[in-house]
């Protein structure tokens, strides 16, 4: 997308355009199958710490939660699973330019949510920003609903407890939960590394596979975006 904005490069024939590999170029080089870095038990540890049982892990039961949306309505994950829904969670911050990019222009998030709506899929945004951090709080997110014409609920998780439970690191950070209540995908929205619409939208792929009763091909990827603006532990 940087390229798309650069626009006119009429001297192209005279110049060689190189994209420096910047190997490490962090996110861009991560393979979709790269293991997620959610906190995990150390291999040398005798047994996983009890707390690990409550942390989201792909292939295991998604941690249950109840959160209120910007209209005050409660959403309980277990109820949605009982109702046979595939659930998509989108970590969100209306003032993060990466979230913003997916909610303007091509409107990747809302379009995909609309495409999947009515197919036993429930899409919810979650804002785990602590009070006082940019993009956080009920009022700002009520405004975001209209600002970005978001048709799905934005859940407020100011304590950050649900975000921490899922290991949500960035906005956006996507999680897909199957009808069986198991976490089936965790990671980026797509393979763009935040620079333009990606070729593969991992969430669309995951949800489509689940609705078709198939295995999700890419279950984890490296998410990218602004850090989730958590408060200090225990708030």
């Amino acid at each position: 997308m940087f390229a798309s904005i650069r626009g006119v490069r009429s001297r192209a024939p005279l110049f060689a355009v190189l994209v420096v590999g910047l190997a490490g170029s962090a996110v861009a080089q991560d393979t979709p199958a790269a293991p997620a870095r959610a906190p995990e038990a150390k291999p040398q540890a005798a047994a996983p710490a009890p707390a690990a049982a409550h942390m989201a892990k792909v292939g295991e039961a998604a941690p249950d939660f109840t959160l209120k949306d910007t209209a005050g309505k409660e959403h309980h994950l277990a109820d949605l699973t009982k109702a046979g829904k595939v659930v998509v969670l989108e970590w969100f911050n209306p003032d993060c330019p990466v979230s913003k990019a997916y909610h303007t222009g091509d409107n990747v998030m809302t379009k995909l949510a609309a495409e999947l709506a009515g197919r036993d899929v429930v899409w919810m945004a979650i804002n785990s920003g602590a009070a006082g951090k940019e993009g956080a709080g009920l009022e700002r997110n009520q405004k975001a609903v209209t600002e970005y014409s978001i048709a799905y609920p934005i859940l407020i998780d100011e304590s950050g407890s649900v975000g921490r439970m899922y290991g949500a690191k960035t906005t956006p950070h996507m999680f897909v939960i199957g009808k069986d209540g198991k976490l089936q995908y965790a990671g980026a929205i797509d393979d763009s590394s935040g620079r333009g619409a990606g070729k593969t939208n991992y969430v669309r792929e995951a949800v489509s596979a689940l609705l078709a009763g198939k295995d999700v091909a890419v279950k984890e990827s490296k998410s990218f975006g602004c850090s989730v603006k958590y408060g200090s532990d225990g708030t």
Partner: protein
């Protein structure tokens, strides 16, 4: 930064990804002083020299409190992006970037970042046939900068320089000190003999030792996702750092070690690439590379 041969162009601070957000004219042409990041293209010498690799770099100057993301293992952020656009026959050589700083955020997030002033080296091969001409080198730079909030930005930077004949020794530019500063933070391969830092497997952990060090840190490459609890184990006071693996399938650990010394001696930076022994619990000495195999 006021060196004459530098043409610093249009720091754009745009809202955008995917052409998503339209350019904000106000921000795009606002006063540079208020921008969280300014980029420019600089050269170590006043002229390029034909027929060899020349030392250039993209200079990023960040306002106080802001950081951008270094190409290492990060929990958040977007990678910096440099897209050089060079005259025909010119080529960019790979280069090691300066070591980053660790940045820990609430929520157990760890990122490796650049703050303040950082020069990203861009060695440019100049063809012999370019001697006697004046050329313009351009680089498109894209970044995300964050303080409490984040902004995306991009800029086209360029530099016009004369090309001296092969064998010439041009005067250093006013920016030459920046290159020396960057080299002091650029990871080096460990010397084959008498290395001040050692790495060995002990009980499944990679243990770094630097006798005499007061502080040790390890900055993993983006594709090394194998170290457990990096927030707590990735840096330590003293001369020993134990890096436990969190991934049984990992085959190698790659990254940069920073060693700080007592007595005001400048810190050392080493590039490490260490194979994981097939049985991680087995005590085994891992060979360290003789030269930097990592091409950025």
């Amino acid at each position: 930064m006021l060196a004459a041969p530098k043409l610093q162009i249009v720091p754009l601070v745009l809202g955008l990804l995917a052409g998503a957000a339209p350019a904000q004219d106000g921000a795009a042409h606002g006063p540079a002083a208020s921008a969280p990041l300014r980029a420019s293209l600089v050269a170590e010498a006043r002229e390029l020299v034909a027929g060899r690799t020349n030392s250039l770099g993209v200079l990023l100057e960040l306002a106080d409190g802001w950081h951008t993301y270094a190409p290492f293992l990060n929990d958040s952020g977007l990678p910096l992006r440099l897209q050089p656009e060079l005259p025909e026959g010119f080529a960019v050589r790979p280069a090691e970037w300066p070591a980053p700083q660790r940045l820990q955020s609430e929520g157990d997030l760890l990122d490796h970042v650049y703050a303040g002033r950082v020069l990203l080296p861009l060695p440019v091969e100049v063809p012999a046939g370019a001697a006697g001409t004046t050329v313009t080198l351009r680089v498109h730079v894209g970044w995300m900068v964050c303080r409490s909030a984040c902004q995306l930005g991009e800029a086209d930077v360029s530099l016009e320089l004369p090309v001296a004949a092969a064998g010439a020794s041009p005067q250093p530019s006013a920016d030459a000190p920046l290159f020396a500063e960057a080299r002091a933070r650029t990871p080096q391969p460990l010397p084959a003999q008498g290395a001040p830092l050692s790495a060995a497997w002990e009980s499944g952990a990679l243990v770094l030792r630097a006798p005499g060090a007061t502080w040790l840190a390890f900055y993993p490459d983006a594709d090394t996702a194998a170290i457990a609890d990096l927030i707590r184990s990735g840096a330590s006071d003293g001369s020993r750092l134990a890096l436990a693996l969190s991934d049984d399938a990992a085959t190698r650990v790659r990254g940069v070690a920073e060693v700080r010394w007592a007595g005001g001696r400048a810190p050392s930076f080493y590039r490490l690439e260490v194979s994981v022994p097939s049985a991680p619990g087995r005590a085994a000495r891992a060979p360290l590379p003789q030269e930097n195999p990592h091409v950025r």
